[in-house]
């Protein structure tokens, strides 16, 4: 049997680590804070990539690739940006190694010092806007709708697999527009794509909102976000889309000749989601037996297990079912390894989150039936062999739907309103979750609340109702409730 993992009720954080490692998702590496994404974890990220890439391309975006390195001076060009990103980062100072004169090994060649240090990109606005300068002359060159799939590095002190690592994988979109209106529309379009992806593919419900000034991307005029609620009542920022105004265009002097024949600075957006989504996926659905994956993102959607072991009849039935399932576009594996017992295999596939398991035993087969188990509820059914493929296809839809509904219910049950600071603290120290409360709109108040509660304003929800009220801390007037939570 696969080794048991820590239960969620015992230690949620340890449960998470156990799942990530025992389901073969990722592991720490020899390099501080950097992870190795193992094949199973990477296969899930690939499914995410494929779907997002399709959604980006369907809306007119194209991919490109920009350099890994950013000249140090570039970071200083945008005043806000430098404060946000010129901090913990990987700095390349030399370009050569040499054998140590004393034969003790390899050392950095002191003669190979770079004139200007290079920073391993923490995000690519600066190098990209420096490039756009050459690409944009006239309104005819706009819009530029470019995305990049890349690795980035931020020298994080406290790391957690997928959620926060020094190096991570992501996509970063960088668009250039002729008008403010168009750039804002792009920012919102991408936010909608992210939300649709999260709900329809990850089965992870999200709140769309806008960040407060404190939580805004360094260099943005506005940061939109999708926020999800994890099982332990903590929030996860799952994706951000920034309206950058003309900030980077001004910093890198990117202008265009508009239709009225006047030089104008270009308007911009940038947006990204990362391998952090894999962490969000785990913490939204998984249980004490391991990973639970929505069928739409499961690398293997169905596994067939012979009970107790392969036989000509069982192999025939498995082959037939696989052929039918593959014809329906389902990814299926037949686990015919004779060195492992069914119970061991069941535990292993549960740990890895395979949505549907089909058991084929001789006795059931004689009765024309198969045993079908769903991972989300662990329910088993005996289903006629004829028509089983159709049953499974429908079952996968049902699982996808159930996971989303379950996560929505969890979020509904864990979204509470607070009218006082006492309310807020007792919610946060109790069940946790989202707290909807009035706030006076100032950074000072936001920081004071954070200081007292460790909760931040996750976002000002876009679908929030106008509702006059009094700030939970200062009593000053507020026009809308905002969402607080402790967050990853």
């Amino acid at each position: 049997m696969a080794k048991a993992i820590t239960s969620r009720s015992e230690d949620y954080s340890q449960w998470y680590n156990d799942i990530v490692r025992k389901a073969g998702m990722a592991d720490y590496s020899a390099v501080r804070g950097c992870m190795v994404i193992k094949p199973h974890g990477f296969a899930i990220w690939e499914k995410m990539q494929q779907q997002l890439d399709k959604m980006f391309k369907d809306t007119g975006h194209v991919n490109a690739y920009f350099p890994l390195f950013i000249p140090k001076s570039f970071l200083s060009k945008e005043a806000q940006h430098v404060d946000g990103f010129a901090k913990e980062c990987a700095v390349v100072t030399h370009h050569r190694l040499m054998n140590a004169p004393d034969g003790s090994g390899v050392i950095v060649d002191p003669d190979a010092k770079l004139e200007e240090e290079l920073i391993v990109r923490p995000t690519s606005e600066t190098i990209i806007w420096n490039t756009y300068k050459d690409w944009i002359q006239s309104y005819r060159d706009l819009p530029l709708l470019i995305n990049q799939w890349a690795n980035v590095v931020r020298w994080e002190l406290r790391t957690r697999l997928f959620l926060r690592t020094a190096e991570f994988l992501w996509q970063e979109g960088h668009t250039a527009h002729a008008t403010k209106q168009e750039a804002i529309e792009e920012t919102r379009l991408i936010l909608d794509i992210y939300a649709t992806f999260a709900e329809e593919f990850m089965a992870m419900p999200v709140i769309k909102g806008v960040k407060t000034a404190n939580e805004r991307f360094a260099g943005a005029d506005d940061t939109y976000c999708i926020e999800a609620l994890m099982q332990d009542g903590k929030a996860l920022q799952a994706g951000t889309s920034h309206f950058l105004g003309q900030n980077f265009a001004k910093a890198f002097d990117v202008t265009f000749l508009n239709k009225e024949n006047q030089q104008e600075h270009v308007w911009a957006s940038s947006w990204g989601v990362s391998t952090r989504l894999v962490g969000g996926l785990i913490m939204t659905h998984s249980d004490d037996d391991g990973l639970v994956l929505p069928p739409k993102l499961a690398p293997t959607q169905v596994v067939i297990v012979p009970i107790p072991k392969p036989s000509p009849e069982i192999n025939d039935a498995a082959e037939t079912l696989m052929k039918e399932l593959r014809a329906a576009g389902v990814s299926v594996k037949y686990d015919h390894d004779e060195t492992k017992r069914p119970g061991f295999k069941f535990a292993e596939h549960e740990m890895q989150g395979v949505p549907v398991r089909v058991g084929i035993g001789m006795r059931d087969l004689e009765q024309g039936k198969l045993e079908i188990a769903r991972r989300d509820t662990k329910e088993k059914s005996f289903v006629p062999k004829v028509g089983a493929a159709t049953y499974i296809v429908n079952l996968m839809d049902e699982i996808q739907e159930n996971l989303l509904q379950r996560a929505k219910n969890h979020r509904t049950e864990n979204t509470r309103t607070a009218e006082t600071m006492d309310d807020m603290v007792s919610i946060l120290d109790g069940p946790g979750g989202f707290v909807s409360a009035h706030w006076d709109g100032t950074s000072e108040t936001e920081l004071a609340i954070k200081e007292q509660t460790k909760a931040t304003i996750r976002c000002i929800p876009l679908d929030g109702r106008d509702e006059k009220g009094a700030c939970i801390l200062t009593g000053k007037p507020s026009a809308q409730r905002v969402l607080f939570a402790r967050a990853y």
Copy 2:
């Protein structure tokens, strides 16, 4: 009209640069030696990736992701490897920036020096074998068949877009096996995949061979390669597959318990192709009017141009044709931009290498015909509108086949035998190309020939006939001819 490019006969090197830039493939960046891969170039790389990824997965490989950084000491662990790769590379020495005390900008924080420097991976054998140590205990854990799509950095002094840049994109496979035989079979399997990909998708014929000791990968027991011949008579190493023996297993102490219950070192292969293939594609097929792309790798396979401009009838005909082509899996665009004349569009699409152009004019339409032009030969035909989609699908097969045949003919015409050093020099200084000649098998002779001719042994062809002869330089006995060429 798109600006003209330098002709190949005038200056091949400049022609190449012109194509890369004017077809929107790539450009240099603000970072020395690093390129920006522009959308059109990246779209071609994506098509390559998709196909290769499928071929790897169809043969049982899975993807994973390992850290960008390699601790400096890792490079020293394999004696050959350190000589090959601990040279020109990007060295990370610090992990923080700070504001300069004098307010002059951002500087490297001297207190944030790393205990051990990190190297931006030039290739990942060391970090991966250090990881495999934790993944492999028993023969049951083998084989490991893992591939990674990644960026790597080698601090090249002389760079050329796609062919040789400081940072480039590639895939690197790293496999682990229980037996020597199996590792060699894997190395050869991948070589065959590379050759098949080059010929069937890139329409670029290649010679499969093995490298001499001089040209071997640092740390390999044997390096297999595919070598292609460019239009200017220079060779291009297009992909390599290395049999690593137990070298990295020994360096990183990776052992496994074999079926006989004995500890044994693991056997290894590694293999890679890179964005360099895009350069090879350009130099195999393109002409003085711009890029020529094989249909199987063209991001846009067919472009439809209204002549002279869109009209309801022309739009209808275009829509119908697009629907039919898309149903056949063809990627097609309708260039209905009214601000550009047909002649300008023709030149633009030729520059970008779109394999098939369809012109739709009112007069032809009244006669039930379309004008179809193929990019490879620039021939035009008038084809009945009914059945045009089928005609185009067949035409694309014909173009794909013609490009391969043309390249094969070029290679045949430019592969010559030399019996003396005079022969060799006159071939190399004349038409160039591959020179098939006898060699005595020593590194000294190989280097002496290189010194005199600037040609290297590209490979010892795998399908070479046994043919006794005398070394072209030393007259010593030789058992097989090898292939010499000047190379990129």
